[in-house]
């Protein structure tokens, strides 16, 4: 979804979700290539097609909303970033490096008793890595929520249980 980058717009949109009783799974906001216009990506759990349609209509009604697309059933690139701080003694560091390697995650901070790991990818991938790291003792997790795009080519449609509204 693209919106005018004006004071209060995020409040307006999240307020709308609250008012209409829709639950937001995740939300990301950032600038677009056009000055004054921001992109918001929502992941929303909906019960049926009608609710999804109603959310889109209500969003479209907002004066600051420029364009809304439901990309749930489209081929998309969806990414989330997570930072995970794990308790790790120096002896175990190598084990962690091996563990995160297939995830293409990286270590972005090291101290004597902890590591901060950065992972990007779809939610499921982030989830999987966090589960693998859990036994080592997770001190903190910070996640961004999903941001997404439709793919340049729409040959295959991806199937998701949750609705992405971008």
């Amino acid at each position: 979804m693209t919106v005018n980058n004006r004071p209060g717009v995020l409040n307006r949109i999240t307020g709308l979700f609250t008012k209409r009783h829709y639950n937001i799974e995740s939300i990301t906001v950032g600038h677009t290539e056009v000055e004054g216009i921001s992109r918001m990506t929502f992941v929303v759990n909906v019960e049926d097609e009608r609710t999804a349609e109603q959310i889109i209509k209500q969003l479209n009604k907002q004066i600051d909303v420029l364009k809304v697309s439901d990309i749930t059933d489209q081929a998309i690139v969806a990414r989330e970033l997570a930072l995970v701080k794990v308790s790790v003694t120096p002896a175990l560091r190598q084990e962690i490096y091996t563990l995160i390697e297939p995830f293409r995650a990286s270590v972005v901070d090291v101290s004597k008793d902890s590591l901060v790991i950065q992972v990007t990818g779809e939610s499921e991938k982030v989830e999987a890595l966090i589960e693998l790291l859990r036994p080592y003792g997770i001190k903190e997790v910070a996640r961004t929520g999903t941001t997404a795009f439709t793919r340049g080519s729409q040959k295959t449609a991806a199937m998701h249980k949750t609705a992405f509204i971008i």
């Binding site: 919106v3 004071p7 209060g8 409040n11 307020g15 009608r50 109603q54």
Partner: protein, 577 residues
């Protein structure tokens, strides 16, 4: 001539204060009247208003100001303009904003705000008005820089009055009203995210024409969208051309003449038997400018179960929101109806259907048992109807008196009915009458209110008196919060928890305090007498009618029931005569 033009041009570019800009902008918008209440944060604004020549009505409470503006908007079709100060002034208009939002009334509301330098510091009379009013306005602004002010006011009027109308609020910090800037009001409004669709899609129109031609039992449900679009004539033409009967929502009343043979009455919780059964039995339901409110549909499970639904609405979000819709037409009601008339589709064969409906109309009319020893509120409304030739502007609050007015005052003309529909606001009717009268100075305005709601905003009698507005204030006094009492009787085993008010004050004496004639009546004969007296007086009158206290509104669709499950319906042969 050319020299004068040059001079005008230079004047336009002159620097002026924010307060003066606001007044100049209101003049450019041809605003006839402002309803407002001064206070600290709007002092610079009121100072400029002082000798501006702009007509300002000082209500006695900000809620009165905004309801008056709603009444003005409803009757004139133009935006109602309100000024309130920051903090409590602004929070006092919250009910009216919500009311206008629910009932799609165009308002432009200005609120004062503390200076930008102290916003966020919990300053004196500071409130987060932008945050508070975000969900209850069509749009709202806080002016952050003087240079934005003309553009914002221009956009506000545009947004309030186009598409689906609604309230727009502009929060103006005090220092913005004193800051100087260039006033350029001639710029185009440019809102890429706001482009209402007003012309119907031709494919969908053709689908509707086709559906009508094949239907046997079509019905039109006409809402206030018809009135907002000034499409009463088109609605009538279309219904007559296609032989389709019409039912109204509460807010739609007057859009189609009540004495027309194709009119079936109001639908919904207290709708007529025929209107509700028509919605239940129809095979094609054409909704024009109504939003399928729950008070209209009853339990959705049983709503129009056999019908193909077509919905014409300017707001796409209303289509399919409550009722699955086969033929969606996003459009202004007038444009869609004109197109439908123009198509001259094959009319539905509704002979058998109309026979059936007429039979229902004859057998199951609205009824009440007359009792001359008391005043039956239904009878009272009928008397008002007769004495005003069905021509008056009627304003109401919410509740029993509202339903009786809707049932028994037969609106044959559009823009005569001012009521709080969606929000159901007590205290709406009296201040709304002020706005309605100012919008139509020659109209007879009758404000029908209950004894409960009247006491929520009766301070506005001062305005009625001051401006000598010839409003007739009719209090349907049953010494109770009648609709609450009715529900307690029907659904809470007559436990009348805090709904009976046997010691109401002497409203006739109150009229005296406000220097206007006041009359009381307790029987039907007295009622007729004081009504005649009141309508003969060219000025405000307050009338206190002690009506039969335990009278209920029927028919009624109980909550959770379908429209076909009305109670309080009797066949005419069963009625005691």
């Amino acid at each position: 001539m050319s020299r004068m033009k040059v001079e005008e041009k230079t004047f336009e570019k002159t620097k002026m204060s924010g307060a003066l800009m606001l007044i100049e902008a209101l003049k450019s918008e041809n605003v006839e009247v402002i309803f407002g209440y001064p206070g600290g944060a709007v002092l610079p604004l009121y100072d400029k208003l002082y000798q501006s020549g702009v007509f300002h009505v000082l209500t006695r409470h900000e809620q009165g100001a905004i309801h008056a503006a709603e009444g003005y908007a409803r009757i004139s079709g133009k935006p109602g303009v309100v000024i309130a100060t920051s903090g409590p002034g602004a929070t006092n208009i919250v009910t009216g904003l919500t009311d206008a939002m629910m009932d799609s009334l165009p308002l432009v509301v200005f609120t004062g705000q503390v200076a930008t330098s102290v916003i966020g510091s919990d300053a004196f009379q500071e409130a987060d008005v932008l945050g508070i009013t975000m969900p209850i306005t069509k749009y709202n602004y806080q002016v952050r820089d003087i240079s934005e002010l003309p553009k914002i006011i221009k956009e506000a009027f545009h947004i309030a009055t186009t598409g689906r109308p609604g309230p727009v609020l502009i929060d103006i910090p005090k220092n913005i009203t004193t800051a100087e800037g260039e006033f350029d009001y001639e710029q185009e409004v440019h809102l890429p995210g706001y482009q209402p669709t007003t012309q119907p899609n031709h494919l969908q129109i053709r689908r509707l024409v086709e559906a009508v031609s094949q239907s046997k039992k079509p019905v039109i449900l006409a809402g206030a969208g018809v009135l907002h679009a000034n499409a009463s004539n088109e609605l009538r033409q279309y219904a007559e051309q296609q032989n389709i009967p019409v039912v109204h929502t509460l807010l739609g009343l007057g859009g189609f003449p009540a004495d027309h043979p194709l009119f079936l009455g109001m639908a919904g919780m207290h709708g007529t038997y025929t209107a509700n059964m028509a919605l239940y039995e129809c095979d094609l339901l054409i909704n024009i400018g109504a939003r399928f409110d729950d008070r209209v549909t009853g339990n959705l499970k049983y709503f129009a179960p056999k019908a193909t639904v077509a919905h014409i609405d300017i707001d796409p979000a209303e289509i399919g929101k409550n009722v699955p819709t086969k033929i969606p037409i996003v459009s202004d009601a007038k444009a869609a109806l004109q197109e439908l008339i123009h198509q001259q589709g094959k009319p539905a064969d509704t002979t058998a259907w109309l026979d059936q409906l007429n039979e229902w109309k004859r057998r199951f009319p609205l009824y009440y048992e007359d009792d001359a020893q008391t005043i039956k509120p239904q009878k009272l409304i009928e008397m008002i109807y007769e004495l005003t030739n069905g021509d008056a502007i009627i304003t109401t609050d919410v509740g029993q008196h509202q339903m009786w007015a809707a049932q028994y005052y037969k609106f044959n003309k559009p823009h005569r009915w001012v009521t709080s529909g969606g929000l159901g606001t007590m205290g709406f009717g009296l201040p709304a009458a002020i706005g309605a009268q100012l919008a139509d100075r020659n109209a007879t305005v009758v404000s029908i209110v209950g004894d409960g709601g009247f006491q929520m905003t009766f301070q506005e009698l001062a305005v009625i008196q001051e401006l000598r507005l010839p409003i007739k204030v009719v209090i349907i006094n049953n010494q109770a919060l009648g609709m609450v009492r009715q529900w307690q009787e029907l659904f809470y085993e007559k436990r009348y928890s805090h709904s009976l008010i046997p010691n109401q004050p002497d409203f006739v004496k109150l009229a005296e305090a406000y220097n206007m004639p006041g009359f009381r009546a307790k029987t039907e004969a007295e009622a007729m007498e004081v009504l005649k007296k009141a309508f003969a007086i060219d000025g405000p009158v307050l009338l206190d009618f002690h009506v039969k206290a335990d009278e209920n509104v029927y028919p009624m669709v109980a909550p959770g029931k379908g429209l076909h499950e009305m109670v309080g319906v009797k066949a005419c042969e069963e009625l005691s005569q």
